[in-house]
Every structure is written in structure tokens, then in C-alpha cells.
């Protein structure tokens, strides 16, 4: 069952690693978007870039990563991260 409120963040050691995985996913038509890594899941990682995968696309993303040995640091699910009317700016 796909959860439209759930998104998966792929974290990286550096943005070069992130861009390489993005290219790989795009090559295999797996939808992904570049997003700032939420600080709560970033830990000690210095890299602020993550790849955002909708819940509906995570299975195909994982398959692509495993089959092509895509490199990443970790994959973290988070729910309710984005709300266009939240009005919490920086």
C-alpha cells in the first residue's frame, strides 16, 4: 500500500556521490528529486544534498540501486515532511 505522505531520503557522503546516483536512477527512469537532507536525519554527515523518492517509487529505486551497485550512505523514510501551507520560512 503506497503512503502518499511518506517519502524516502537517500543520504550521501558528498554531493558527487549523490549526483552519480541521481544519474543512475534517471537512466533507469526512476523518479527522484534533489532535496536538502532534513537535519534530523543527517547526523554527522557533512553533505546537505539528498535524493527524495516518493513511496510509490522506492521499490524500483532500491532494485535499480542493488542491480547497479549504486553508492549511497543511508536511506531514511520520513512522513509529513512537506506542507505547502505550513508558512514556516527561514
Amino acid at each position: 500500500m503506497v503512503n502518499p505522505d511518506l517519502r524516502w531520503y537517500i543520504l550521501f557522503a558528498n554531493y558527487e556521490q549523490g549526483l552519480a546516483l541521481r544519474d543512475l536512477l534517471l537512466k533507469f527512469d526512476v523518479k527522484n528529486r534533489i532535496a536538502p537532507a532534513p537535519r534530523a536525519i543527517q547526523g554527522e554527515l557533512s553533505c546537505g544534498m539528498s535524493l527524495l523518492i516518493e513511496d510509490a517509487d522506492i521499490e524500483s529505486a532500491l532494485t535499480c540501486i542493488v542491480q547497479n551497485r549504486g553508492e549511497y550512505h543511508s536511506i531514511v523514510p520520513l512522513a509529513g515532511q512537506m506542507r505547502s501551507h505550513r508558512d514556516k520560512y527561514c
Partner: protein, 424 residues
């Protein structure tokens, strides 16, 4: 592996406080940008930049400094990037657009100062912005009283150079600005140790003109009734252009424009047909100030143009590339920059003419004239803007806001009502 923490430490930043800023940025980016559907693929470049906004570009600037290049931090679209680029220097924008920096600014500035000025000073004093730590020299200008006084504070521990911008546009004022540009060139030569020659300045003029043309291409696409990009995304592109390498910026804007032009051909719009088209005018929206655009575009409107420094004023008008002496080139620069219509000039009828022209070109349904709190100049000009638009039969909503979230609900109510009125 990029170790930005070490870099920030070396820059003398307050890591603990900076981490608080790092916590709020991803939430805002997610809410404002990633909730949008059907964004242009080429926005991936700006998504990366904003994800690593205190990482990638600062690291590039530090690397350039190691090669002997100097970084000049600027606060205004009147400062000619061309002069710095001609001396192999690098320009980076420094205007602060975050409420996060305001309290630190208020420790030395009156609370009744515009939030852009308070945030800029706060970013420096609070040691939470790498760009303020990296810049070898700050370049100010006399566009407003708040900035002029702020520059005195910022100049206490960073080399500061001030350009005296005329406040009228008579022929003698254009000559005066040319002389200011020539003086600035001498200072830049002295500071960088690099001579500015006719050839180098011509090359720099070309580089900056190409950036202007590329940004103008993106804006040209926003004139289409089939709107291929949101105002939020276009604003992000413009905001980042102040920080980026100008050649790469032009490449990325052209790449985006290619996609937008194709979208128009294919009939791909980011909003439903009939969505009311809004022109936003007023004071600049420095990164990460996205409040106004987000509220407009989540209240049923689409921002199709910004008549502001983070908008058309930044790229409109090119510098003549045919001049053959430095004196002629400085005059060509002055003529171009003095065409920019800021409320610091009197009279400033050119801005009204610009707004009326943009309303036609961008097929605008309504104008939102928004100034930052305590900006007396733009606040006062709301009267003439409003009168001219009403005479032209164009609905206008005048607003005042700052960087805080506290007025968001009130803004939603007023902007929502305005768009509802446009929808008839």
C-alpha cells in the same frame, strides 16, 4: 569527501548556531519548492545549490582564494560586477533574506531598520553565513540610509569600499557614476594586484551581458500564456545568480530556458488555464525569502514577473560591448546601470513606466506591490505605483512585510481575497 564542518570551523563560524539554521532550511525548501508538481527538470541545478548552499559555492570561493583570487561581497545591483571580473576577482551577493539573522542584526541596529539590512549585519556578526566570512572586501553603495549606517558597522573588521550612487538621473549624474566606477576600478586593481585593461574589461562586460541574456530568456518564457515555470522557481534562479559563477549561471539559465521553450511548444504549463497572473514589485527578495511567492502561488495565483532587484532590474539592459577605451567603457557601464530604476532616485518615474510595460508584456491580471518594513523609499512610492496602475485599470494590492512568519496568515487572507477579486 567534502568536509564542510572543517571549512566552517576554519572560517571562524559559530557552528552551534549555524546548525540551527541548517535545521530550518530543509523544511522551508521542502514546503516551498518540493511540494510543486511538474517542475522543470533543469531546476535540479538550483535544487542542488540550495541543498548545499553553505557548502559547494563557499568551497569553490575558498579554492579560488588559494589561487590568489579575491572575493568581493556586494549588496546591490548597481555595483558593476564587470569591474571585479575584469580584475580576475569574484563577486558574491551578501544580502540576507532570513529572519534567523535578524536578532543578531538588532544587537547593533535599531529595530526600526529594514529586515534585509538587519539580516545582512546579523549574518556577519553572528558568524552564521560563510559568504560573509569568505569575502575579502565588502562593496557597499549609497542606496538607502539603513545600508549606509550598516556599512559603517560592517566596515569595522572587514575592508569596506563604498560607491556613492547619485540620487538623480541628470546627464551630470551619469558622468558622476562613471567617475565612481573608474575610482572603484582603481581600488579593485590595487586590492587584487591585477590591472584592468580594455581587453579584460570587454571580456568581463561580455560575460555579464551573457548572464543577463540567459536570465532574460527564462523571463521571456514567463510571458507565455502557457506558463512553463512557477514564480517560486524563477525567483530561486534569480536569487542564486547573485552567488554563482557568472559563466556557469548563464549556462544553467540557458539550459533552463531551452526546456521552458520546449514546454511552451508542447503546451506544458505548471498552472491550470485561467490562473491569475501576478506581477510582484517592490523591495528585493534575498535568499531564502520565499514567503510572498509561496503564499501567492498557494492561494490560486501565479507569479509571472518580479519588478525588483531580484528580478528584472538585475538583467534588463545590456552594456555596450563596442567601446575601445577604458573611459568609454566606464561610461557605457554607467549608462547601463543608471537605467535601473530604484526608489532611491528622485524623480523615479522610470519605475512606473517599467511596471506598466511589464504588465502588458507578461499579460498580468494584478500587481502586488510589496515592500519590506521600514523601507521608507519603496513604501512611499506605493502611492504613485498604485495611482498609475489604477489609471491603467490594473488591480493592485499594496503590502508591507518582513522576514518573520507571524504575518503569514494575515498575508494569506489579503492575497487570497485579492486573487478571489481577480477571479471575479
Amino acid at each position: 569527501m567534502a568536509n564542510y564542518v572543517e571549512m566552517w570551523k576554519d572560517l571562524g563560524m559559530d557552528l552551534e548556531n549555524h546548525d540551527l539554521l541548517c535545521q530550518v532550511l530543509p523544511t522551508a525548501v521542502g514546503d516551498v519548492f518540493l511540494t510543486q508538481e511538474n517542475r522543470p527538470n533543469a531546476m535540479d541545478f538550483w535544487d542542488l545549490v540550495i541543498s548545499e548552499v553553505h557548502g559547494i559555492r563557499p568551497a569553490e570561493l575558498i579554492e579560488a582564494q588559494k589561487q590568489g583570487r579575491k572575493v568581493f561581497g556586494t549588496f546591490c545591483v548597481y555595483v558593476p560586477d564587470e569591474v571585479v571580473v575584469a580584475a580576475n576577482g569574484i563577486v558574491t551577493g551578501l544580502c540576507g533574506g532570513s529572519q534567523f539573522w535578524v536578532p543578531d542584526g538588532e544587537t547593533v541596529l535599531p529595530k526600526a531598520t529594514c529586515p534585509l539590512v538587519k539580516a545582512s549585519v546579523g549574518a556577519r556578526l553572528g558568524k552564521t553565513c560563510p559568504f560573509f566570512r569568505i569575502a575579502d572586501m565588502y562593496v557597499g553603495e549609497t542606496t538607502c540610509d539603513g545600508k549606509k549606517k550598516a556599512y559603517e558597522i560592517l566596515g569595522e573588521d572587514v575592508p569596506m569600499y563604498i560607491m556613492d550612487l547619485p540620487q538623480m538621473k541628470r546627464p551630470k549624474d551619469i558622468v558622476k557614476w562613471k567617475e565612481e566606477i573608474a575610482d572603484f576600478a582603481k581600488k579593485v586593481e590595487e586590492f587584487t594586484g591585477n590591472e584592468i585593461t580594455v581587453e579584460k574589461l570587454n571580456e568581463a562586460i561580455h560575460i555579464i551581458n551573457e548572464r543577463r541574456k540567459a536570465m532574460a530568456r527564462v523571463y521571456e518564457c514567463r510571458k507565455s500564456e502557457c506558463l512553463p515555470i512557477s514564480g517560486r522557481d524563477a525567483l530561486l534562479m534569480t536569487q542564486i545568480s547573485f552567488f554563482d559563477d557568472p559563466v556557469r549561471c548563464a549556462q544553467m539559465c540557458n539550459r533552463l530556458a531551452d526546456e521552458l521553450e520546449q514546454r511552451i511548444k508542447d503546451g506544458v504549463s505548471v498552472v491550470p488555464a485561467g490562473t491569475k497572473r501576478i506581477l510582484v514589485t517592490g523591495t528585493p527578495l534575498a535568499v531564502p525569502n520565499w514567503k510572498l511567492h509561496n503564499i501567492i502561488e498557494t492561494s490560486g495565483g501565479a507569479v509571472v514577473c518580479e519588478e525588483m532587484c531580484t528580478g528584472t532590474r538585475y538583467f534588463t539592459n545590456l552594456v555596450d560591448e563596442t567601446k575601445t577605451t577604458l573611459d568609454e567603457q566606464f561610461m557605457a557601464l554607467s549608462e547601463r546601470y543608471m537605467k535601473t530604476n530604484c526608489a532611491c532616485f528622485t524623480p523615479n518615474t522610470g519605475r512606473i513606466e517599467d511596471i506598466l510595460e511589464l504588465v502588458k508584456e507578461y499579460k498580468v491580471d494584478g500587481v502586488i506591490d510589496c515592500s519590506l518594513k521600514f523601507c521608507c523609499l519603496y513604501d512611499t512610492e506605493k502611492r504613485s505605483v498604485s495611482m498609475a496602475l489604477k489609471e491603467a485599470g490594473v488591480p493592485v494590492l499594496s503590502l508591507e512585510t518582513d522576514y518573520a512568519d507571524t504575518d503569514a496568515e494575515q498575508l494569506r487572507t489579503r492575497i487570497g481575497a485579492f486573487i478571489e477579486m481577480l477571479n471575479g
